[in-house]
Symmetry: C2
Subunit: 197 residues, 2 copies
């Protein structure tokens, strides 16, 4: 015996979400059943509105609800530094620090030979258009994965003939971590990146 | 810096789901962003339709889309046996066996002194209306928790003066389990319920 049609359909929708399998989708559907009608309506409306209003910033590729994101629109931010990240998530992770006051550029992924993703699939061309005389430094903050490193090296090479300093965020042991538990690559990076005390 | 308004709103909705915290809701919202517009529309429509169409069976309390659920409407099922369960989920768990061909009665929970849930809060009165001469056996399949056991004993006592056999599903070691890992209550139940070989 199967669940009623509308139940199965909602379960199928929940299963499209990351990390949600059969059991999870079932549990969520039962939770929706216990909700008040106006709450469910609010949920449906949130989905529709979200898809209608959210878009990518025309300058940096971050998510926003207007042509430019809040960061690009804020002229008080340091216009001489651009931090290149993979996803909008990374922008929000950096912003939580409240330490970086420059601009961002969101690539929307990494170059990946395995997955056939080239420079043209990413938001890279517009990065070069942004590098004017005003920009002094480009910080490459892609993830320390093999694709992230490839992308970083690739960008560094392309930016080499521009009058701009290109830097890479440091990799090494996370604070509070232990040498004993670190993988070899992390340990190697931490050794390579050593500093004089 | 916060996410855009519509992003935050959708995240708040995802957080209403069981087991979903900040990080999970964020991940889900990003996934929705990557979805095609018609898929998101389908999701929103599934929520609305689900809430509109799903209701409880007037006879047994199971979930369905019409007045009676498929099981109650199916006259070929054994009308002499009623299996009492806590939730609609339990009905679907039993049905997966394809071994039980009788009817069901869904209580919608258990009697709970701790949570102040009494007989009147549950779908119990209608169970007594269903016990006609045709019904020969009531199988009480509430969960082997303390509230489930209380409810089972309570129902057994109420049904004692009716001309119907009241049985309880067996509790003991799960198949494939080991004595070594079983908790004391399970082991005790398994000893009490021993059978002649």
């Amino acid at each position: 015996m199967a669940y009623p049609e509308s139940f199965e359909e909602l379960m199928a929708c929940f299963k499209m979400l990351p990390g949600i399998g059969n059991k999870g989708a079932e549990r969520m559907t039962y939770r929706i059943m216990d909700m008040e009608e106006d709450q469910v309506q609010r949920f449906a409306e949130a989905l529709t509105q979200f898809k209608k209003r959210i878009r990518y910033c025309e300058t940096c590729g971050n998510i926003c609800e207007s042509e430019q994101c809040d960061i690009c629109a804020n002229k008080e931010r340091d216009q001489s530094t651009i931090c290149v990240v993979e996803t909008p998530k990374d922008v929000f992770a950096m912003e939580k620090l409240k330490e970086y006051h420059g601009l961002y550029h969101v690539l929307g992924g990494t170059i990946s030979i395995m997955n056939g993703i080239t420079m043209d699939d990413l938001n890279i061309h517009s990065l070069f258009d942004r590098i004017t005389d005003e920009v002094k430094e480009v910080i490459i903050a892609t993830n320390p994965t093999s694709d992230g490193e490839t992308t970083a090296l690739f960008l560094a090479r392309l930016l080499a003939n521009r009058n701009v300093e290109v830097t890479r965020i440091a990799h090494g042991l996370p604070v509070g971590g232990s040498l004993d538990y670190a993988d070899e690559m992390t340990l190697l990076k931490s050794l390579e990146g050593r500093k004089k005390l």
